[in-house]
């Protein structure tokens, strides 16, 4: 197999979400002495972008998106290990602290956003679910994060996104960080009302938003 063919195999594997086979293909990429960074940028990223596009067009649905995200994560784990071993740096797109807000344990949407951000080169610090304001702020400070991304899946946990923003303001940290919010009941109006820097209604637009916010920072 040529390098191009292996790359294509990896691309199609992510596109089709055959995640059981992904690790093996990723290993094959490395054993052919291909640059893991190049494999990420020329196979994984375009594949997951197409998955996102298909999701936006309702050709793909949540299960399809998840199996592709799983495949991508499996490959990424292999490549990142190699990148570390070789002592090369993957250029960071930015640092993102992400989590689902306190009182809310809905995981899926937030995790998909985290995976896609990771694929696009962001350093993602996923705090999980039911995250309180103190933990968000502590991590933001520790990592000197560029972006704080908060998910809320319940109308009653949406106000907590506002609370975290208020706490950031009270600590004089608001100007140093971009805040993005999401979650199915969340709207652009809500984001505007609570003073967030951005809102995205799906994982793919969340990545685009993060990239846009990085340009502004």
């Amino acid at each position: 197999m040529t390098a191009e063919e292996i790359k294509k195999e990896l691309y199609e594997n992510v596109l089709n979400g055959d995640f059981d086979l992904t690790q093996e293909i990723a290993q094959k990429v490395l054993s052919e002495n291909m640059d893991p960074l190049e494999a990420i940028n020329t196979a994984l990223v375009p594949a997951i972008e197409l998955v996102g596009e298909k999701f936006g067009k309702k050709e793909y649905f949540l299960p399809d998106l998840m199996r592709s995200a799983n495949a991508m994560k499996n490959a990424l784990a292999v490549f990142e290990k190699e990148i570390k071993a070789r002592g090369i740096e993957r250029k960071s797109s930015g640092k993102v602290v992400i989590g689902t807000v306190k009182g809310d344990i809905h995981e899926i949407g937030k995790s998909i956003v985290a995976s896609l951000l990771t694929a696009k080169g962001f350093d993602v610090f996923d705090l999980g679910v039911d995250v309180d304001s103190e933990s968000f702020i502590k991590k933001v400070l520790e990592e000197k994060a560029d972006i704080l991304a908060m998910s809320a899946l319940l109308p009653i946990t949406m106000p907590y996104q506002a609370k975290v923003i208020e706490d950031l303001k009270a600590k004089g940290l608001r100007t140093g960080i971009k805040v993005m919010v999401g979650g199915s009941p969340v709207t652009q109006e809500h984001a505007d009302r609570i003073g967030a820097d951005g809102y995205a209604d799906n994982a793919v637009s969340a990545v685009k938003l993060a990239e846009k916010l990085m340009l502004k920072s």
């Binding site: 979400g17 995640f19 309702k58 793909y60 649905f61 949540l62 299960p63 399809d64 998840m66 199996r67 799983n70 009182g103 809310d104 344990i105 995981e107 899926i108 995790s111 039911d130 319940l154 109308p155 009653i156 946990t157 199915s184 009941p185 209604d201």
Partner: protein, 369 residues
């Protein structure tokens, strides 16, 4: 002559206009408690709730004049358990956690799943689901004895197929299984179908008018799975279940609940025999459009926003929404007006009152809107 609630619902279910638009509402346990306290005098002597495990009809249904009474059975009796500890395990081995939240009306709890009994592949083959014969049917017998002649009775056997699978296997894993590990998906969903079907038979024997199946298949603006995955994996099981229930009693009506946007599969639901669709969340699907496109072939139950209007709107907004829905969805019958979910603790009391006032004001047929 005025109709009984039962006649009103039966007429509406036949897609004809009764004397008034039938309606009902349900409350989260905290709101139920507040209202029962507030109306303690008025509900004195009304026969109501006796069994805590079975959420469903209470004295308030009778006081507020709801046309349909609910009897909750099956997996969803795991919701909202009133326990001392903040976690509990239900009959299925599902571990729930009470998640507190603050509202204008005090602290409430949602119960969320934190432990999925079949998350581990190795547990699946040896898993024994609860026995439907252990369910206490005395509760439904009592309600039907007290109210079955006057009111339309709905037996709830929700979390019927895919929802049960999610609760047993895990939210993320079930989404992946439904397209990757189809054998596992079939096995677990079939187990739930068997269980809920047996319960459905028991409820039919007791004399319910309607059975409520539910599977959340919609996200806010998109289906959770593709229509083709639904048609391959879930729809045949729904068809089987509904077919068996209607074989048991051909007059039984079937309601189906899915939150969110499910328009691409409404024709499929009609095809497998769903008579009444709940809740038509206005944030996800425009009720007037659904009425126009599907209203002659399927009834509509719900449409009043519990996500936006009831908690965040004014009393005037609530009245406007009730009037609008009656105007656009009630013509020709086939419409049961209700909030799109339990009325939540964050709903201002004025809005609950406004809901009831507006229903009373606009519900008479012939419509005057």
């Amino acid at each position: 002559m005025a109709m009984t609630s039962k006649e009103r619902m039966q007429t509406a279910m036949d897609h004809k206009e009764p004397d008034k638009v039938p309606f009902q509402a349900t409350f989260v346990p905290e709101v139920d408690k507040i209202l029962r306290k507030k109306y303690a005098k008025k509900i004195e002597g009304i026969k109501g709730k006796t069994a805590e495990k079975y959420q469903g009809m209470t004295e308030l249904d009778i006081l507020f004049g709801h046309d349909m009474l609910l009897l909750t059975y099956g997996m969803s009796t795991g919701y909202y358990r009133d326990t001392e500890s903040d976690t509990y395990v239900d009959d299925w081995g599902i571990k729930w956690k009470k998640m507190p939240y603050n509202t204008i009306n005090g602290i409430g709890y949602y119960t969320e799943i934190i432990g999925f009994p079949l998350a581990d592949d190795n547990k699946i083959d040896s898993y024994i689901p609860p026995d439907p014969d252990n369910e206490d049917m005395g509760y439904s017998e009592e309600v039907i004895k007290n109210y079955g002649r006057q009111y339309y009775i709905c037996g709830i056997i929700d979390c019927s197929i895919f929802e049960a699978f999610k609760y047993l296997r895990g939210m993320e894993q079930s989404m992946v299984d439904i397209v990757v590990n189809k054998d596992i998906a079939h096995k677990i969903m079939d187990m739930s179908v068997d269980y809920h079907l047996k319960l459905g038979f028991k409820l039919i024997e007791r004399g319910v008018d309607l059975l409520w199946l539910a599977d959340d298949l919609g996200g806010e603006h998109t289906l959770l799975m593709s229509p083709s995955t639904f048609r391959e994996m879930v729809k045949p099981k729904m068809g089987y279940m509904i077919g068996e229930l209607k074989k048991k009693n051909r007059n039984i009506k079937i309601a189906f609940h899915s939150d969110g946007f499910i328009e691409p599969i409404i024709d499929d639901l009609i095809e497998v025999g769903v008579d009444l669709l709940n809740p038509i969340q206005p944030e996800s699907m425009d009720p007037a459009t659904i009425k126009k496109k599907y209203g002659k072939r399927i009834g509509m139950w719900g449409t009043i926003s519990t996500q936006q209007t009831l908690p965040f709107g004014t009393a005037a907004d609530v009245e406007k929404e009730v009037a609008e829905r009656i105007k656009t969805c009630a013509p020709g019958g086939g419409f049961l007006l209700a909030p799109t979910h339990n009325i939540q603790l964050d709903v201002p009391f004025e809005n609950i009152e406004a809901f009831y006032r507006a229903v009373e004001k606009y519900r008479n047929y012939p419509l005057n809107l």
